[in-house]
Amino acid sequence: MTKELTYLNYLKQDRLPHQWCPGCGNGIVLKLACQAMEKLNFLKTGTVMVSGIGCSGRSAGFFDLDSVHTAHGRALPVAEGIKLANEKLNVMVISGDGDLFGIGGNHLLHASRRNTDITIICISNAIYGMTGGQCSPTTELSSRTLTTPRGNVDTPINVQALITAHNCFYARSTTYHLNHALKCITEALQHKGLSFVEIKSQCITNDGRRRGFKNSYEMLMSYKDTYKINNNSSVLEHDEIGIIK
């Protein structure tokens, strides 16, 4: 007997399969978001999904909820406007690292300062995937991309420091650590005030293959080897995942 996949109720199933590349991490995060909403018995009416631009920006359109696909980088002010106009709504943002930290970086700085009660899930793949694989604000030092052929020389943004500086909820997980990531999203949705979940995700098509990975499985395994779960610290090290409230 097959188990009914009830989390699919949160998706527009006639729009599936999604259009992302084979091996992409976005679908994993989409499923995690649905599972978290299901766990918390979120009603489909009363929940709003917002996303920015980029591969991950397409996420919002797959949910069977009212959703807004904003201009590039503007997911946060739109989400804040929605939440402040109707505080009964659950407002979730799913977007990428380029959208949230690059073009929309200023909004993240101020949204966390205002501590608006929204949940942000960042699919952080350290690359501008949709446009072909350019360096992003979270690309690691010396990493090779289309725009950094001799290796990235700029320090990646320290999102943890930015979010926790304003005493907001911050969690980091990866697309390999499924249960941990689900726990992060579920706790973030329950948090009153701004909550931010950074999920390290893989882009094999426009990032991994240029860095010597054979397939996205290898990238997932690198998350397994790199990241250790830390449950009792107030600061996550570079190679740790966990929740900071």
Binding site: V48, D66, V68, R74, V78, E80, G81, I82, N86
Partner: protein, 339 residues
């Protein structure tokens, strides 16, 4: 009806409250800040001071979709920052009111001096094809009245409506009658009630369709017809006929207040709904041998007038924020002599 002495910006804020404003997001800028100052003291309006104008316009896109009648106010530099999201709001069909109190540009220019340099920006500022409704009143009473019309037109057309002003009209103090104009109610269901997808991508039935030219053509046609249909309700213009003159002056906003003094010698036409252009001007213009467009920029609306009338038009630019009737007279005499 009560009579009140109000500043132009104050009149916009008070009228907005009466027209049902629930949500305002803005960023301080001369000469529009007084609207923000007035609204923070209003109990029925949620006011957000955002980090910039991009955040402001996006916050009201969100709040409007969530069911609140929403407005922002700015000046030229902030209006430039908003352009991308204005196009986005047209594409998603979000009712908004955006007030632009113009000052001298380009760039930081002369922040406290009036100008009319954002005419083209209203119509063509964002990329792609869209068909904005733009009002440009010239007195405190008109600012009050057209704030209502802007809100109504926004609700009826489901689009961002621009209310233009300039630092001269917005900083005038005039006695006005606080009339109650009819108010159009919200027709768009708020977020959280269905499974719609609002997107800036070309779309059909709430779904992105990004490789079908037919769908895009239909969408643009829909936006155009909708805007034209709604704007027909607001055919606002002022025409001062002059049977003894064969010269028609076309002017609007702050400048038109000074040009009124020339009505003994010339006919005057003043559009209030400046976009989509009021067709009436075609008939009016036929009666006059010369058309003179005057505006406080180096030539913006004049091109639109020429295009609409299919004839040559004289142009008098007023630059630097100073309106000098002597200067205008000298130039008008030259046009008279030419004939």
């Amino acid at each position: 009806m009560t009579k009140k002495l109000l500043q132009g910006n104050q009149a916009i804020a008070l009228a907005a409250v009466k027209a049902g404003l629930n949500f305002f997001a803005g960023y301080p800028i001369t000469p529009a800040s007084e609207i923000l100052h007035e609204l923070v003291n209003q109990k029925t309006v949620k006011v957000l001071q955002m980090e910039d104008e991009i955040a402001s316009v996006n916050a009201i896109i969100g709040s409007s979709l969530a069911g609140a009648k929403s407005m922002t106010a700015t000046s030229g530099p902030g209006f430039s920052l908003m352009q991308e999201s204005i196009g986005h709001a047209h594409m998603m069909e979000v009712p908004l009111v955006i007030v632009n109190v113009q000052r001298v540009g380009p760039s930081t220019g002369m922040p406290t001096f009036p100008a009319q340099g954002d005419i083209m920006q209203c119509k063509y500022g964002s990329h792609g094809d869209y068909f904005p409704i733009v009002f440009y009143p010239n007195s405190v009473a008109e600012l009050y009245e057209f704030t209502f019309h802007a809100f109504n037109a926004a609700e009826e057309s489901l689009s961002p409506v621009i209310l233009l002003s300039d630092s001269y009209v917005s900083h005038l103090y005039e006695t006005i009658e606080e009339a109650d104009y009819p108010v159009s109610n919200r027709t768009l269901a708020p977020l959280g009630t269905s499974n719609r997808h609002f997107t800036g991508l070309t779309h059909k039935d709430s779904r992105p369709v990004t490789s079908d030219p037919g769908v895009h053509k239909k969408l643009i046609k829909h936006l155009e017809t909708k805007q034209k249909k709604v704007s027909r309700k607001y055919n606002n213009y002022e025409y001062i006929e002059n049977k003894y003159s064969d010269i028609l002056l076309i002017t609007y906003g702050a400048l038109s207040r000074a040009v009124y003094d020339l009505k003994e010698d010339f006919a005057i036409y003043r559009p209030v709904r400046i976009f989509p252009m009021v067709d009436k001007i075609k008939n009016i213009a036929k009666k006059y041998k010369e058309i003179v467009v005057m505006e406080m920029n180096a030539g913006q609306y004049v091109n639109e007038i020429e295009r609409l009338l299919h004839r040559e038009v004289n142009f008098i630019p007023i630059l630097g924020g100073k309106i000098d009737l002597n200067e205008i007279w000298t130039k008008l005499r030259r046009i008279k002599k030419k004939r």
